[in-house]
């Protein structure tokens, strides 16, 4: 099935995208309401939660240019040393800018 991108068509497409995205925003919460939370489930979702971040970041580092890698490494080092997010992000961006300027 295809939809022509007329005014009505675009509105329909936006509505479909909105509904699909809502299903993802609601679905996990809805399914969990049928799960009894015990320590094992709690352990699963906690480990999964931080793994989401790793699974987003690592391919970004591998796929990106040298500047992207520099940004992530500099952010990680600063964060581990200072435990302050904003300075760490700033250092990361500066590292990317510097590497790209030189490169």
């Amino acid at each position: 099935m295809t939809i022509e991108t007329t005014s009505a068509g675009v509105l329909a497409l936006i509505a479909i995208m909105t509904v699909v995205t809502l299903v993802t925003r609601f679905g996990g919460v809805f399914l969990m309401s049928f799960v009894r939370i015990n320590p094992r489930v709690e352990s699963f979702i906690n480990t999964m939660a931080s793994s989401v971040l790793i699974a987003i970041i690592v391919p970004m580092a591998v796929d990106g240019d040298l500047g992207a890698l520099a940004a992530l490494v500099a952010t990680a080092v600063t964060m581990l040393a200072t435990r302050k997010p904003l300075p760490s992000i700033t250092v990361g961006l500066l590292a990317a800018a510097l590497v790209r300027y030189l490169g």
Partner: protein
């Protein structure tokens, strides 16, 4: 669940504080929004359609993904698959917040989820790892991120990209760096580090060999399996949860 008591107390002052906590990162979201607004009008969407999409979908990567499929006609099923795959991480994010969300009445619970996105979720999940229940960041942080995304989109639609070359300033890395600080700010134990290693390897393998946009869910579930079979030796927080029932 039925019979649960909804004990979570929202504090307006904390919602406000979380709004301002995520304000700095939202300034960068304006720049991404502008990039989307520009790209969208270049694909032929009208200004109002573009702004409407950002306001109702509120998920940048999937909006860019849909634009890739845009033309005189759009095939509905492939578009739905792309949007679902890119946003499927929300399923896991929502599930991970459930121990807190079950303390909130269903109407408000799903209302909160309307504002769920990467940055406010990451902040909330990090606080939870550190023992703080903070659904206020989903509301306050989500609101400022949504405003920034819609405002940025509008700026991009009417004025084009705000900068010639945002990559030169490293701005494409803001979200990645932010998420990294949230990951590193949480609790770290051998168990967590092993889970991260498994998540990283699985995500890379999925990214390389599976259909596109599946790597986040695959990596996250693989990391979660470590937690499923390897429990924290002192189940202090587990006891508290069990006594809820």
């Amino acid at each position: 669940m039925s019979g649960g008591h909804y004990s979570y107390q929202f504090q307006a002052s904390r919602v406000r504080a979380e709004f301002f906590r995520l304000l700095p990162i939202s300034l960068f979201v304006v720049a991404f929004g502008a990039a989307f607004g520009l790209a969208s009008t270049q694909e032929g969407l009208s200004p109002l359609e573009t702004i409407l999409m950002s306001a109702t979908v509120f998920a940048g990567a999937s909006q860019f993904g849909a634009l890739d499929l845009w033309g005189a006609e759009v095939s509905v099923l492939p578009m739905m698959v792309v949007v679902f795959a890119i946003n499927s991480r929300h399923l896991l994010m929502g599930a991970s917040l459930y121990p807190m969300l079950k303390q909130v009445p269903p109407g408000r619970r799903y209302g909160l989820m309307l504002l769920l996105t990467d940055a406010n979720w990451a902040a909330c999940a990090q606080d939870y790892q550190n023992g703080r229940h903070n659904l206020e960041v989903i509301v306050g942080g989500g609101l400022v991120l949504w405003l920034a995304w819609v405002l940025g989109t509008a700026l991009g639609v009417y004025f084009g990209g705000l900068m010639q070359n945002p990559e030169a300033f490293g701005l494409d890395m803001v979200l990645g760096c932010f998420l990294l600080t949230m990951a590193l700010g949480g609790r770290k134990s051998p168990r967590v580090l092993v889970a991260w290693l498994v998540a990283a390897v699985s995500a890379l393998a999925a990214w390389k060999w599976l259909p596109p946009n599946m790597h986040v869910v695959v990596g996250a579930l693989a990391g979660g399996l470590i937690g499923l079979f390897w429990l924290e030796p002192k189940a202090g927080s587990g006891k508290e949860v069990a006594s809820d029932h």
